[in-house]
Symmetry: C2
């Protein structure tokens, strides 16, 4: 079926002037006064809709159209008319209108402001609202920007597994994946769960990170990235945590922490620039209705140098103003969002890398610095959100890595293949993780992760 998308009308307005066009979409508003009516028709191809002017004189089934409800789907053929004096740059004067699908007066998305809490209960319909239409369009553009960034630079996209039977990730609570009958869990003779009867013949879980497998790939391809779903089974009711979310994890070989930071900066700036170029209508909406400072902040981050301090320097700065924080900091404590925001917003006024954290608060695979106390970790803090990226140079020295495993009481046998990477042509390498939803929140100003995921999964909630 031939139709012109409304996006194309905005992109090439003058070329359509006086032309006959067919558009299809859903009624956002409709009003009529006996012989003349107006419809705001939206087809989701871009943020804005198009005004349809329909007159009894020109539209055979005027009465049928005039009684349509909000939410109905229409196919409209008419004349494209530029309207330089009106609010909207053009409108369509209808000649034929067909009803593709009716709606009802109780359609949940009437022309009024709905709370985001209510809209979450109708996640199947909320993409038809301004807010969610824009949010998921930005999400899509940002995802493509990420692929484009890495592919143009020769990175190999690696699909690391989601189901994992290895216990060696150690980053938070995991969901169990099983085909055992929970009503009647099979037992071994000694009374334990008989995982030999399970699908994978051993306990399996949903991954919390593809990093370790990503390292395998980086030490073959040089530069790789992952982009896939990740899971956390931690009970949480905050605005920032979902049980299922998407993560990007690049990993680069023959590279150190400086290279890692340069990559992170380039990637963040690329994503912002790409979304600002391709989603102008959407970002204008967010800037006007969700977060007044959004466009200014994004432009600033896209162009500015990023700052850099060590964790130790950060603590010195923060200790001087400890009285303004709920959580007081000292050397050895982890940074909370309030500290991160203070550093990036008050001290730097721009994004800032914090590096070289105490080894005690970071993961076993991070490269031990020469001081023996800190590791080559890096977090990127950005104004308005705090930490957006966490990464590190990885420990490539087998003996040091074995020492770290021992310190933490971890069993080297569980890490045999990870250790192999250090035995056979191990090289300096580094990587980081970007939580995709956090990036989308940053790009839109939306403050609740439930509103940047089409169908969010959170503690106690897996609807639709």
């Amino acid at each position: 079926m031939q139709r012109t998308e409304i996006r194309a009308l905005y992109a090439g307005a003058s070329q359509y002037a006086g032309q006959r066009v067919t558009v299809c979409g859903w009624v956002r508003t409709i009003r009529d006064s006996k012989t003349l009516g107006f419809i705001d028709l939206n087809d989701g191809s871009c943020f804005k809709g198009v005004q349809i002017v329909f007159e009894a004189e020109h539209v055979e089934n005027y009465k049928e159209i005039a009684k349509q409800n909000v939410g109905a789907a229409l196919r409209v053929t008419g004349i494209f008319v530029e309207t330089p004096e009106a609010k909207q740059p053009f409108e369509i004067h209808a000649r034929e209108i067909a009803v593709e699908g009716t709606s009802t007066p109780d359609y949940p998305l009437q022309k009024k402001r709905h709370s985001v809490e209510y809209l979450r209960t109708i996640a199947h319909l909320r993409p038809r609202t301004n807010l969610f239409s824009a949010a998921f369009r930005v999400r899509s553009a940002a995802a493509f920007a990420i692929h484009k960034f890495f592919q143009e630079r020769g990175f190999v996209y690696a699909h690391t597994p989601l189901i994992t039977a290895s216990d060696c990730e150690g980053a938070g609570e995991m969901f169990r994946v099983t085909t055992l009958d929970l009503e009647n869990v099979p037992r071994t003779e000694s009374g334990e769960v008989d995982y030999s009867k399970d699908f994978f013949e051993k306990p399996a879980s949903l991954t919390v990170s593809g990093q370790l497998e990503g390292e395998c790939m980086a030490l073959a391809f040089g530069k790789i990235y992952t982009f896939g779903p990740t899971f956390r089974a931690e009970k949480s009711y905050t605005q920032r945590h979902a049980a299922e979310f998407w993560m990007i994890e690049p990993e680069i070989a023959f590279a150190d922490l400086q290279d890692d930071m340069a990559l992170a900066k380039d990637m963040i700036q690329f994503i912002i620039r790409y979304v600002m170029e391709t989603c102008q209508q959407d970002l204008a909406f967010f800037n006007q209705f969700v977060d007044k400072g959004l466009l200014e902040r994004l432009s600033h981050v896209a162009e500015s140098d990023f700052g850099h301090i060590t964790y130790t320097e950060a603590i010195e700065i923060l200790e001087k103003v400890n009285d303004r924080f709920e959580y007081k900091v000292h050397w050895g404590s982890d940074l909370q969002t309030e500290h991160e925001k203070y550093l990036t917003e008050q001290v730097f006024g721009r994004p800032v890398f914090v590096t070289d954290y105490p080894k005690e608060i970071k993961a076993f695979y991070m490269r031990l610095n020469d001081d023996g106390k800190t590791v080559a970790a890096v977090d990127l803090l950005v104004p308005g959100i705090g930490e957006i990226i966490g990464g590190s140079q990885r420990e490539e020295r087998e003996d040091v890595l074995l020492g770290r495993l021992a310190e933490l009481g971890l069993n080297p046998a569980d890490y045999w293949w990870y250790l192999d990477l250090r035995k056979y042509g191990g090289v300096q390498h580094a990587g980081f993780g970007l939580g995709f939803e956090r990036m989308v929140m940053y790009l839109t100003g939306i403050s609740n992760i439930r509103d940047v995921l089409p169908f969010p999964r959170t503690t106690g909630s897996a609807e639709f």
Copy 2:
């Protein structure tokens, strides 16, 4: 750290002639004769490596280098020399070589042919072999081609959920996702599993398809696609089935089965052309060592028209030659791979769409045809593999859909949100699913799904 990727050397060979370059990579082969040695160094940036010539006269640590093992990681600085008379177009005459990481004589990937079965047991190292290096590079390029295809055409990339608590997908056995303690499953007073104690407070599983959620998005954005992991808990030891695999599911509104077929054809041809352009070295390898007819078949499919017959016509053709099939066909029976391959390879000699299957062998959501017996389903069959895509126009008529649910004994209440899509501005829409691994197998000639997934998850196996 500055290095030039070997890919860049191949792309711009003459510009490097006589220049000093630094390359980093892993030793594939090494041989020396006292004062002169040769190394095949591979950095994974492209299929081919570069020959390093090192001489005692120019390289200070000649002896150290000469005794390196296969698998060692080196950083080589030297002069780029064109060698138009030799097998390889250029080589590097080393001036400095640093050992980034040693290897050992027992490195598993020695210069000899290993069985793919053995290589699966070292999935952390196999991307360093020719076969898997090429396979995962093609996989990455194909994935990007898919994003590029849809994004350039204005489709919104939709992340549909992986964890689902709805039972309405009905396409195969599912993995249960739980945080309940399997050693001690909590029970209600009446003795059943107490799912109110589970993370989502009800039973949850891993999705087998994002289609139903994808339809919600298509009826807001007009055109969407998903690209994400999907799961099947069916016990299977075949070459074609994995428990975790990736799937692409586009969904288009204001569209019928013809539009769906046109989209499928365009997408398949776009992917093939993109991979043929960007992975020439890799495809040349597959064509030479894995599947001699590969390039010819891909070129043919990329350029040819696709055939089209109905299921009923297909059965008529197949019944005439029923004696050559293990499974005899008759109207009403599902097509097996042997039938599909016969149709596309023997009858058509090119890809062919088969449409309008009996409703009894297809899913409830497929649009009922006017004959009341068949549905607007489509499978795309391609030479060498059989079915690669399955899709349909969706039933947009609420009353007909309710009738189908009733016929199948399904409870409409479980589908309330899916039915809402028909109530509020429902329109003709269609979509299909492409199993990504099947596409990669098609692009490479690799016959086992375990060899196109970096870390495959199959019945009884979830290593790494």
